[in-house]
């Protein structure tokens, strides 16, 4: 329990750093969101509107930095992330709420698929170390070193532009209304296949390689030899003895990957113009939309921290050695 308490304290500290960085970065950089907003709507904003905006962005000039910081933290505590400039007058919170589900479904499902497949292949490659299996390594190395978006571009060229099998961009057909009707879900599913495949292809090598390397170390352990000497079937030894003990690092890696689900797919969403949170963040960057940028960065950092906490909890549950140490 002491272990978890220590970790919790650490994540609280890290969370505070994320919040503070988020507060400081735009204030250290030149430019002011209100000026940007005014320049986007020339002549349309009155003096009182400008003052109201300045207050809304937490930039009221009377306040010193400490007071601004306190206001900022107070707003956060109430879930108030401010107003978006790109999608003005929507609030940052509502923009995030609209785009987050797209990312969660697409990246979440692909992460689960990639983890499951990669771990299974890793077990098999380690178990039967034949030459052609080890020959897979250079190939997967290549796939892991290909810049992700390049893989996606090639996939679009081949499957969408040349073969016309799948749509090249967007989250659903433009004629569709966002709803839970069968035709909408079908359309959304079609649009998700290509991005999902590219995510799996680019991330599977890591799971595979990690599993293979730990598995090879585990396989020379005495309890694996004992299990074989008892005459257990090869499959039983492979899964219930060797893999079960070797999977620990992969499981905690998976918990971390779940944290990156929220923010880890910018390039996917950019290349496929997928309406998720990464795409919105890039829109925010190209429009100098500081409140939206900050809000999204904050949400991403907090979910990564939460996933890290989850990974630690997994370790405590799966590995009794840590419990005893604690």
């Amino acid at each position: 329990m002491r272990f978890m308490a220590r970790r919790l304290a650490f994540y609280l500290a890290a969370g505070w750093v994320a919040v503070t960085l988020n507060f400081l970065i735009p204030r250290l950089m030149p430019g002011n969101p209100v000026e940007i907003l005014i320049s986007r709507f020339p002549g349309q904003l009155s003096g009182s509107a400008t003052r109201a905006l300045t207050a809304a962005f937490g930039l009221a000039s009377r306040q010193n930095l400490v007071q601004q910081y306190l206001t900022y933290v107070g707003n956060l505590a109430h879930g108030n992330l401010g107003l978006s400039i790109t999608y003005y007058p929507s609030t940052v919170a509502s923009v995030v709420r609209e785009s987050l589900p797209w990312t969660l479904v697409l990246v979440g499902l692909s992460t689960v698929a990639s983890f499951t497949l990669g771990t299974l292949i890793g077990i098999l490659v380690a178990w039967r170390r034949s030459r052609w299996m080890d020959g897979l390594l250079p190939l997967t190395t290549f796939l892991a070193a290909v810049p992700y978006f390049f893989l996606a571009l090639v996939a679009i060229t081949v499957f969408a532009v040349t073969l016309h099998w799948l749509p090249a961009s967007g989250g659903y057909d433009l004629g569709q209304q966002v709803s839970f009707s069968a035709s909408f879900i079908l359309s959304a599913g079609q649009h998700a296949i290509l991005p999902a495949i590219t995510i799996v292809a680019s991330s599977i090598a890591g799971w595979m390689l990690g599993m293979r390397n730990v598995m090879i170390t585990t396989m020379s352990a005495d309890y694996v030899l004992t299990a074989q000497a008892k005459g257990l079937s090869g499959r039983r030894v492979m899964f219930a003895y060797a893999a079960r003990n070797a999977i620990l690092p992969n499981v905690s890696g998976f918990a971390l990957a779940l944290g990156f689900v929220v923010g880890g797919a910018f390039l996917t969403e950019y290349v496929f113009s997928y309406p998720g949170i990464g795409y919105v963040l890039l829109q925010a960057v190209s429009n100098d939309d500081y409140p939206l940028m900050q809000g999204i960065f904050l949400i991403i950092s907090l979910s990564v921290l939460a996933a890290n906490l989850l990974a630690d909890a997994c370790y405590v549950l799966l590995d009794p050695r840590i419990r005893r140490q604690g």
């Binding site: 070193a145 390049f150 060797a242 960065f297 990564v304």
Partner: protein, 338 residues
């Protein structure tokens, strides 16, 4: 010449992965040095007459939408990509050595603080942070970009180096140096860091790979200075010119492939370094083993048997024969009488 030969002999003993990676990296280094000189055209010269042509004798890799020569862009852009990757890798590695070794060596409250710092940088999501920071950066030239990338990439190395330093600082030779009254910086510089060269090298290679992929991604999104030629900015212009939709594969395949091969060479070097420290990770196809060896190793091997490690037979040593004293040593001890 002899020195060269010895270097080659040592190369031949490296795991095959590292050897392949080193050769590939050397190729890219050569390209970065001579590329801008041998480029057939000025990469920025616009020539509407030959816009968007496929590969031909005049333009070996075809032309862009505005008639720029793709091959020239590729040759010129390699230098920028590689240099920025190496620079960011070097800055990040320097940072991780400074933080990691200091934390491990000082221990106590300084260690707690520095570990907290590196752990925080480790869990903060790198790409979103980079996008937010570069989005607000006014000067997007190569150096600021390299600095920003290295700020997000140093923490991993620092953590590994701290652990290693912690284990080294209790070793006898470090304690002896302390007893002898050596100053702290001297112990760190001459006793500790030389014993961490392998880890530092591996962390440098890893960070450089991270930096190159990140730089290319940032350039592709348009968050770096895309008016200078790099493989990332080539991809940016290709995406902007809708090379995909037109089917102009010669425009975006070459830069992407180059980045992939460069990344692969670095990844292979790192695998090789891992295999050097843990031979069990080697594939069956160890260097120097002939086909018979491999077949025997496969036949003899059972899942529970100790992992077969095929060592290559070391080439005959060109160095002088061992000191005779060493060979006589066993005789001296027989019965304790000379």
């Amino acid at each position: 010449m002899a020195r060269m030969a010895r270097l080659m002999a040592r190369m031949a003993r490296l795991p095959v992965t590292a050897r392949t990676g080193l050769v590939m990296l050397a190729g890219f280094a050569l390209l970065a040095i001579v590329g801008p000189v041998i480029a057939p055209d000025n990469p920025s010269t616009v020539d509407p007459a030959v816009a968007l042509q496929g590969p031909s004798a005049a333009h070996l890799l075809g032309t862009t939408q505005s008639g720029q020569d793709v091959l020239s862009q590729l040759l010129v852009g390699g230098r920028d990509t590689l240099l920025l990757g190496l620079a960011a890798g070097a800055i990040a590695t320097a940072l991780s050595v400074a933080v990691g070794v200091t934390a491990g060596f000082l221990a106590g409250i300084a260690d707690e603080f520095l570990s907290l710092l590196s752990n925080i940088f480790l869990v903060l999501p790198a790409l979103p942070l980079l996008i937010v920071v570069t989005g607000e950066l006014k000067d997007r030239g190569p150096l600021p970009t390299a600095v920003v990338i290295s700020i997000t990439g140093w923490a991993w190395g620092a953590r590994v180096l701290r652990a290693q330093t912690l284990s080294l600082r209790g070793r006898d030779y470090v304690l002896a140096a302390r007893e002898a009254g050596e100053r702290a910086w001297r112990i760190v510089a001459f006793e500790i860091i030389p014993n961490e060269v392998a880890i530092i090298a591996s962390s440098f290679v890893f960070t450089t790979l991270f930096a190159i992929l990140t730089y290319v991604a940032l350039a592709f999104i348009g968050l770096t200075d895309v008016s200078t030629w790099s493989w990332g900015s080539m991809l940016y212009w290709a995406q902007n010119g809708e090379a995909l939709q037109i089917g102009a594969w010669w425009w975006f395949i070459p830069p992407g492939l180059c980045v992939a091969l460069l990344g692969m060479s670095l990844a292979l070097i790192n695998f090789g370094l891992d295999e050097l420290s843990d031979p069990r990770l080697r594939g069956i196809a160890a260097p120097g083993a002939d086909r018979g060896d491999r077949r025997r190793a496969r036949r003899l091997w059972r899942p529970a048997a100790p992992t077969p490690v095929l060592y290559s037979v070391p080439p005959p040593d060109p160095e002088p024969a061992p000191e005779p004293a060493l060979e006589q040593a066993p005789q001296l001890t027989v019965g304790g009488q000379p």
